[in-house]
């Protein structure tokens, strides 16, 4: 077959190959996206948690929707550094629910926090609320249901544990 006759024509075999490539894409992409979604949730929660620690340690209050849950903690610590450290993050997955556990430690004693009127429980709630808002802001497609974040079919539950020095 001379080149002049083939021009402007799609060969049948090219369509076949294209079909095979597209089928491959359709088969491979969804599971890949699935696992990458979980990783991205964990990465975002981690970023949010370390951001919360940095914000609390800096001790400058910002009046906006995102930082509002942390501001009470900031006021309780007199705008001084509370030395919050992100100790670790662990995840577990069962079905469509991803549970992320965040452990944060304050170098101030739990007595200090009790005296300041902010129990460790309310710090946990504040940080949790901040993480949820942070993730929601970063993912316009995600929505919220109670204390969980919905990513399409996936459900992310965030647990925050805060411990003080000597507790």
């Amino acid at each position: 077959m001379s080149p002049s006759r083939r021009r402007g024509q799609t060969a049948l075999e090219a369509l076949f190959i294209l079909g095979i490539i597209l089928t491959g894409v359709v088969l491979i992409v969804p599971p890949y996206l699935d696992s990458s979604e979980e990783t991205s949730i964990v990465v975002q929660v981690r970023n949010a948690a370390s951001d919360a620690c940095a914000y609390l340690n800096t001790g400058v209050k910002m009046d906006d929707w995102l930082h509002e849950p942390l501001n009470e903690i900031l006021e309780a610590s007199n705008y001084s550094s509370s030395n919050f450290v992100l100790e670790g993050i662990s995840t577990s997955q069962s079905g469509n629910v991803v549970t992320v556990r965040v452990r944060i430690k304050s170098q101030k004693s739990s007595k200090f926090w009790e005296n300041s009127g902010q129990q460790l429980d309310s710090i946990e709630n504040g940080v949790k609320e901040y993480i949820i808002r942070y993730v929601l802001k970063a993912n316009p497609s995600a929505s919220r249901s109670g204390n969980a974040i919905l990513f399409g079919r996936k459900r992310a539950v965030i647990n925050v544990e805060v411990s003080g020095e000597g507790s």
Binding site: V60, D63, D64, A138
Partner: protein, 147 residues
């Protein structure tokens, strides 16, 4: 394959490269915005601590001592920073409105403040003085902020 023609594999490759580049740009802009925000928080904090330390120094030196302070942040029109000394709580309070967001931070002073005073810093007016004055009738040193 004919020469000087765009092949479908090449188009695929271009699309994949573009996707990667776009994602990288998106991540980079997000990180940059966050870094800038944190930079501002840190600057405000350092400034507040600086004002606190200078106030203590001015109080210790005593009557007639003045120190010139300048805000380390470049303000745009419409943005402001208010530095205040609170006599009730003995604190330096810095409130700011920068880039449409409000900021507030405090520092506890280790010296007493007898008189409330504050300065309003705006763009083109970011200098103020911290000065000490001995009050003979009260027998105490007043530290005040003045533009």
């Amino acid at each position: 394959m004919a020469r000087a023609q765009v092949s479908i594999d090449f188009l695929f490759a271009v699309v994949l490269v573009m996707l990667t580049v776009l994602n990288l740009v998106y991540i980079a802009t997000g990180e940059r915005a966050q870094a800038e925000e944190f930079d501002l928080l840190a600057k405000l904090k350092v400034f507040t601590v600086d004002v606190r330390d200078t106030t203590v120094k001015v109080y210790s030196v005593g009557d007639g001592f003045r120190v010139r302070k300048e805000l380390p942040i470049e303000l745009k029109p419409g943005e402001w920073v208010v530095v205040a000394l609170n006599s009730k709580t003995d604190k330096v309070v810095v409130t700011a409105k920068i880039g449409g967001k409000s900021y507030k931070t405090e520092q506890k002073l280790s010296v007493p403040i007898y008189e409330d005073s504050s300065v309003n810093l705006t763009s083109g007016n970011s200098v103020f003085w911290i000065e000490a004055e001995y009050d003979k009738t009260g027998g105490k040193t007043n530290v005040t902020l003045s533009p």
